[in-house]
Structure formats: C-alpha cells, structure tokens
C-alpha cells in the first residue's frame, strides 16, 4: 500500500470499505502533511483540523455500526478541500479578499451540503484569486500559492489553492469553480484532471457570485474516475438555484472497460495558433493520436469565432461582476471603513477592501454597462456570444467531443504578468469559450515539458455530456500514466 496521501479517491473508498485504514487515520495523514507543506505552498487559507478529525471519527463510527455496508453514504470518510468562494458553515469565507475578512457563513453551499450528505470530511478552505478573478492565484489578498511541481511558478488560477492541494497530496480531491477556466487551467498547470461542469449542472447556491451567466462549480482530482465520484454526489437540480436543470443527477461509474471506439473527436484548428508553446502542441497532438489508436475517429473542425471569445468574456464577466460585487458595501458583512456619510463609507470600504484586479474589473464592467456604452459593448458582446455558442452547436453535430490544448503554455513564473493584465487574460484563451457556450470541459494531464512541468489536454463536449467526457478521459487514462505522476516535495 502506498502512503495514504498519494491514494486516489477510488483507492481511498475501497481501502475504507476493506478496513485497510480508518477515516481518522486518513484525516490525520492529510492534516500532518498539510502542517508540513502548507507553510511553503499556501494552498489552504483555513484548515479545520478539529472539525475534520471529529467528522472522520463520526464516519468511522457510522461504518462500524452499519448493518448493510452497501447502504452507507457513497463518499463516507473521504477527505476533501473546498475553494474559499463556497460557503461552509462555521468556516471563514474570504474569497481571497480583504473585504470579506472575518465573514463566517452560517450555512453550506448546496454543493458542499450534498458532499457532506455523501459523507465527506472537509479539511479546509483553499486559496483563490480574489473573487475568483485571475489565472495565477497571485491576486489573493492572503498571499500567493506555489505550484508543487516548481515552487517558483504559479499553480494557475483562480482555483490554484485547490489545484496545489491535490497535486501536493494535501487532499485527494477539491472543489473549484470555473468562470473562464479557473478549474481547467490550474488542473493543467498542476498535472490534474479538472472538470468544469455544464452551466446548470451543479447548484451555485452558496457560491459567492462573480459572473452569474458563466460561473460553474467543478472538481479537481487526479483522474477522471475520481472527478466522476465527486460529481455524482453534488450535481442535480436545486430549488435554491433557478439555473439548475431538472435533470436526474449523474450516476457515472467508470470501471475497467471504458472505450472510445467509434467516438468522433474534433480538433479545432483555431486552437493551434501562434503563441501556443510547441511542447504543449506536441503533447496535445500525441494525446489525440493515442485516442485514435484507441479507436476514436479524429477529424479537424472549425470554431470560427474563437478569437472573439476573449473580448466577449472581458465585457460580460466584468459587467456581471460589477453588478454582483455591489453587495460588498460595508453594511452586512466584512470590512467597513467608517465615514461620516453613507456614500463615502461605501466608496472607502470598497476602495480599501478590493484588490487591484477586482477594482479593474469593476471599473471595466461599470463602464461597459454605463449609459451611452451599453449597446456598443455589452449588447455587442452578448450577440457575439451567440455566434460562439452556435459554433459549438454546429461542431457537435459533426463530432461527439472536441480535443484541444487547455492552456497556451505550462505554468508561468510567479510575477510574469504582474504589470500587464491583458497578458494574464490571454492565459485563458482556450478555456473561455466553454463558459460562454455553457458546455462542460475537462482538462487532463497529457505529458510534461522539458523542465518537468505538466501539460494539459482539454476535452469539450455538448451541453450535459459530462459522462461522455469523463468516460473518454478514463479510457485515455487507462492507457497512459501522466495522471499518476506526483511532484517531488
């Protein structure tokens, strides 16, 4: 048996069921490793050691007392980390922002509640770019997170804390959120399988809103098989989130016989552009060739409006953010800078509470929605968004899945884009379109560059095709071992 912290979710669940180790031993192993490595990596902003041990002991008692083990909750005793933009009752929720310092929600996000109902043990809350705005986790007010594969590099973002935690063996799986690539890009940078769910698949109740027409809750784990186990437990209709669809919750169980025989995979030519790191292209092409060897039918396809995704996103996301973040005003929670009148109190609180990237996006969004500019910016962006969605719809009439790079390059050095926000935005060119169209996406490890940094392959599927995406990735992962590599720490 390998060390507990290097096990996959399915190995953990099997080991717990077989009595190879207890939930308590497992939680202790992770807490010990967090204590040793988190000061270096800053993956977690908050660790609930006492709560995790208590929950693990309760899980052990429940298992010991069960008359019918098959009736136990499916993830009983599984430790998990939660991105600090999701509400966990009794734990701080900072969103990586000073403006929420001290805020402790009294309720659970639906995704979190469903995982708790399924038996998970929450280890703590992970670092994020402030309000999930960023691609490096450098925009957190609580310090940068380091990439476990190279501590001088970023883990990606905004779910960089979750990605670093799973990659470093500080959790076997973690919740992330993906508004423009914030699960898939850090998964690619940290050698993980990162699932962005379809819009409407997982409830956002209890997720602090950033871009409401784009935000999705997702999972970071080592394998597609592991991601599926977490997805099963948290997906489905929620009366508290009117955008969730009344579809049955998925019940995806990936075993030994996944196959991609006959699966039609499209490779969009617009994703192989100038600026794509040659090693990324080589790894992605090799992975696609492997899918072909496994029986998939590969063909080139075109998503002609891909180049417009970035400008569309950088109107729509900031516009929605500027509206959503209006609630942070020093009245109901978090920071307040006292002033003699209300407007001054709002302005000073927000001026001191928000960091530079959040202010930048609030400014862009406010401008794009302001009188005289609305039609030219927001209205035009919404129309071009339709063209991007229609591109996907057309391609998914020809193919079952799309395969493309997840990111233009491997993890970049800390500080590389500090002075140039537009360069940082360009890190997301390959992930933004799925959010605009609302379709699911999955980033999986496809190899390593010459310096040993992980490289990601992105799979995209039609609306609500998570099972197809995960099954295809699982077939690939049974025939490859990139996802089994772990960083030396």
């Amino acid at each position: 048996m390998s060390e507990l912290h290097s096990l996959s979710v399915s190995q953990i669940l099997n080991g717990l069921a077989a009595g190879d180790f207890s939930s308590r031993e497992l939680a202790q192993a992770y807490l010990k490793r967090i204590a040793a490595l988190n000061p270096r990596l800053n993956a977690y902003l908050y660790v609930d050691a006492a709560g995790a041990l208590a929950a693990a002991e309760a899980a052990d008692r429940q298992r010991a007392g069960a008359k019918d083990p098959a009736g136990l909750p499916p993830l009983l005793g599984l430790p998990i980390a939660v991105k600090d933009v999701l509400a966990v009752a009794g734990m701080p929720a900072t969103c990586g922002s000073r403006i929420l310092e001290g805020f402790v929600p009294s309720y659970n996000a639906t995704s979190v509640q469903r995982l708790l109902d399924a038996g998970v043990v929450i280890l703590g809350k992970t670092n994020t770019d402030e309000f999930a705005m960023g691609s490096s986790t450098e925009n957190s007010a609580y310090g940068i997170t380091r990439n476990p594969w190279d501590e001088e590099r970023v883990p990606g973002g905004s779910s960089g804390g979750s990605a670093a935690a799973v990659a470093a063996g500080l959790a076997p799986a973690a919740l992330g959120t993906d508004t423009g690539g914030s699960v898939r890009q850090p998964a690619a940078f940290c050698g993980l399988s990162g699932l962005k769910t379809s819009y409407g698949r997982v409830s956002r109740y209890g997720l602090v809103a950033f871009g409401s027409s784009l935000d999705t809750v997702g999972v970071l784990a080592h394998s597609a098989q592991d991601a599926a186990l977490v997805l099963n437990a948290m997906a489905g209709y929620d009366p508290r989130d009117a955008t969730t669809l009344e579809q049955p919750a998925p019940n995806i169980h990936l075993n030994g016989n996944a196959s991609v025989k006959g699966l039609r995979i499209g490779v969009p030519r617009e994703y192989f552009i100038e600026g794509l790191q040659p090693e990324v292209e080589a790894a992605v092409r090799a992975a696609i060739a492997q899918f072909e060897q496994l029986g998939a039918q590969v063909q080139e396809v075109s998503l002609p409006h891909t180049a417009y995704a970035l400008p569309v996103y950088y109107i729509i996301a900031p516009a929605e953010a500027s509206a959503n973040l209006a609630r942070f005003d020093g009245v109901r929670y978090g920071l307040r800078i006292e002033q003699d009148n209300l407007i001054e109190m709002f302005s000073r609180t927000r001026g001191q509470g928000f960091g530079p990237e959040v202010k930048r996006r609030v400014m862009i969004g406010t401008y794009a929605l302001s009188a005289g500019y609305y039609d030219a910016y927001y209205g035009q962006a919404q129309k071009v968004r339709t063209l991007i969605r229609d591109d996907f719809a057309r391609v998914f009439e020809q193919v079952d899945l799309i395969a493309a790079p997840a990111t233009p390059g491997s993890a970049f050095p800390i500080g590389a884009h500090a002075e140039d926000p537009l360069q940082m935005y360009l890190e997301d060119v390959f992930t933004l379109p799925a959010n605009l169209a609302g379709v699911p996406g999955l980033s999986i490890p496809a190899g390593f560059d010459s310096t040993g940094l992980p490289l990601g392959l992105q799979l995209l599927g039609p609306y609500f095709s998570e099972e197809r995406l995960l099954a295809a990735a699982h077939a690939y992962q049974q025939a490859s071992d990139h996802h089994t590599r772990r960083p030396q720490l």
Partner: protein, 98 residues
C-alpha cells in the same frame, strides 16, 4: 478607445470605488488598452444576431408559496460591522443627519 481622467472619475463614482490619483492614472491606461482589445468585436456584423442572455433554456415556473425556515437573524447580524436594535446600522444617508 482612450479614456480620459474625467471618464475614470465618473466610472469610479458610479462604482462607489474610492481610488487614489495613482490608481486612477493606472486604470485609465489599462482600461484604455483592454477596451482597445475589446474593439475587435466591432469587426463583426451582428445586425441579424440575437443577443445570448442566458445559457440554459428558460424554464421559469411558479413554485408553491409555502413558508420555509429563514436564516436565523442572529447569524446574519453576527457578520455585520455595526448593528443596533436587531438591525444593520449605517452612517447618515444625507449630510447633517443625526
């Protein structure tokens, strides 16, 4: 398009965002760059395109009007910077208030 300092003042006021002079100059420059990039959208003729206002097929429907438990008042007030008489307290809205 290039923003003026007056534009930035106006946006910051609308956003209720107090910015230093140095921040205003930085955002004037950076927003101008970002908007120049966004101007690429104007290349496309979208006269015949419907705006995409939501991802999911709208399925709005009425739910039964049944009371359900609300969050406890004490929990909600407990996160507030200033409260009085079980309410949020704020500074005077108008100058010369109490």
């Amino acid at each position: 398009m290039a923003l003026s300092r007056e534009d930035v003042d106006h946006i910051a006021l609308l956003a209720r965002l107090h910015l230093s002079d140095e921040e205003k100059e930085r955002y004037r420059r950076q927003l101008s760059d970002i908007l120049a990039h966004v101007d690429k959208l104007k290349e496309l003729d979208t006269a015949a395109v419907q705006p995409m206002s939501s991802v999911a097929v709208p399925q709005s429907r009425l739910r039964p009007d049944e009371p359900s438990p609300a969050m406890p008042r004490a929990d909600l007030l407990g996160n507030a910077p200033d409260t009085a008489a079980e309410q949020f307290r704020v500074p005077p809205v108008l100058d010369g208030g109490p």
